[in-house]
Amino acid sequence: MILKDILSQPPVSTLIQDSCSLKGRPLFLSLICHYSENGYSIRYFKYDSPLSSEASEMEQLKLSWKTCIVDGNEDMVSVENSWISEIKNGNVLIAIDSLSPLLLNWTVGEVASALKNLQKTTTASVIALVHGDVHDKHNLQTLNYIFPCHLTVRRAQGCNICSGIWRKTSGKITDSEEHYSITDKWELKDVKEFIETQSAVVTDSLPKSAVPKSTFKLGLNAREEKARSQVVLPYIRKQNESSSETSKGKIIYEVEAPDWDDEDPDDDLEI
């Protein structure tokens, strides 16, 4: 169970992918809150345009933040430097909310390269949010290679579901699907394995009665069924009379009296 595992260990570089149907920000903030309470220093970079409710949320979390509006005049190196400059000592967690504006201004290669450099040159872990419905699969796949832990949030069967893949340093890859909920104090709770219940599969079988449902009485009762079974069809009677052997596809033709007309068809013409 990846969510439970990452909470019980030091922070791992994690990418949280969300969509309009379920926002990943609550999970993102709850992970940050958890690491902050465990003594990690959080450096929060806000590239998304904040919702009106986010100011009060950040006050509640006691996180200082400043909205950074990404400008195409900058280059990715200056953004990378702004991340590195915040790391002055150990136990620092870089929180990026979100990568989507960066991916619009620079290529995924440049963004991935900056993130990789950050992880190589410093001991800081990175938790980043990305809006999966904004970018194409190629860009998201590239980001997956940079982050060892990838969480995708979605809504299913009325629950918040987190599908996680974690590539550990030992080489082992674990994946899981868990449902979770977040309290008002940004704590993760009710983290349990999610088993998708499939709707009952109806085997494709012939119906017992081929009579369609209708307000008219189309079916037969037992007496009528019996009477119908006793009806002898006329052609069956004829076949049985004509040959005693069982015939297969034989055509029985009875020559009828010729129907010649002796009259001259041109008789009425006055030639």
Binding site: K23, S49, I69, G72, S100, P101
Partner: protein, 248 residues
């Protein structure tokens, strides 16, 4: 009838100061933008109306049918209209750097900067008064050669303008077509950043005499909710219905 829209969206109970509304239109023309404009006018808010494809006469004519007079409010400086059509025409004749649409003749690293400065100047002149910044058909900027990153940047700047002034609200409409990837990418990203998202679509089965289309309302502020309505457009407004109740 503008009141029925406001009541259905609960905007008579929820204050939109400091918040943003995004209207995503899958069909032509947004009747909901005019309802929100009517509400802002009736509340006595200052309005900055930015339009790239309609003249001031168009908004005046629609506003008259909904019960407010745009020309009157323009003369009182309650409404400031920044119109793309006239400015575009002038920009080719007088290549003035103060023209909000200077990016058409002047290749700029920040194409919408002058337009943003024009909006900021108008808002700063109003001081602390409540205002609504209304931008109609933001997708027209793509047709004018502006990149997605610059449009997104422009939205962020407008959003921060509104949030700095706690009495401002931002209302943006965007037309979306299923084949335009740039448009869809931009509208999806702005949906993540807007407090209220109204997605307006025609009926899947075609045209109907009882209904014009369906509206999906998404509130991104807690508690996040999604609701669906059907609506019918009339000359003097819109009627909203719960799905399936239009003919009752």
């Amino acid at each position: 009838m503008a009141d029925t829209v406001i009541k259905a969206l609960m905007l008579d109970k929820i204050q939109m100061d400091g918040k943003s509304i995004l209207i995503i239109q899958h069909s032509d023309g947004s009747p909901f933008l005019h309802s929100l404009l009517t509400q802002s006018a009736r509340q006595g808010r200052k309005i900055v109306l930015v339009s790239f494809s309609h003249s001031v006469g168009y908004y005046h004519n629609v506003g008259t049918r909904l019960g407010w007079n745009l020309n009157n409010l323009l003369s009182k400086n309650q409404v400031v209209f920044i119109g793309g059509l006239q400015a575009l025409k002038d920009s080719f004749r007088f290549q003035n750097s103060s023209n909000p649409f200077d990016f058409l003749f002047n290749s700029n690293t920040c194409p919408l900067q002058t337009l943003l400065f024009s909006i900021k100047e108008v808002i700063s002149n109003w001081g602390e008064q409540p205002f609504s910044l209304v931008i109609d058909e933001l997708d027209c900027l793509f047709s004018l050669g502006v990149k997605t990153s610059h449009v997104v940047n422009f939205f962020q700047q407008c959003h921060s303008l509104v949030q700095l002034n706690s009495k401002g609200s931002l209302i943006i409409s965007m037309g979306v077509t299923s084949t335009d990837k740039e448009n869809i990418q931009c509208s999806t990203l702005l949906s993540h950043w807007s407090d209220l998202v109204l997605t307006e679509k025609g009926l899947q089965t075609g045209k109907s005499k009882d209904l014009t289309g369906s509206l999906i309302v998404n509130w991104n502020i807690s508690p996040s909710t999604e609701q669906q309505f059907h609506f019918k457009c009339y000359d003097r407004g819109i009627k909203m219905f719960a799905p399936g109740t239009a003919v009752l």
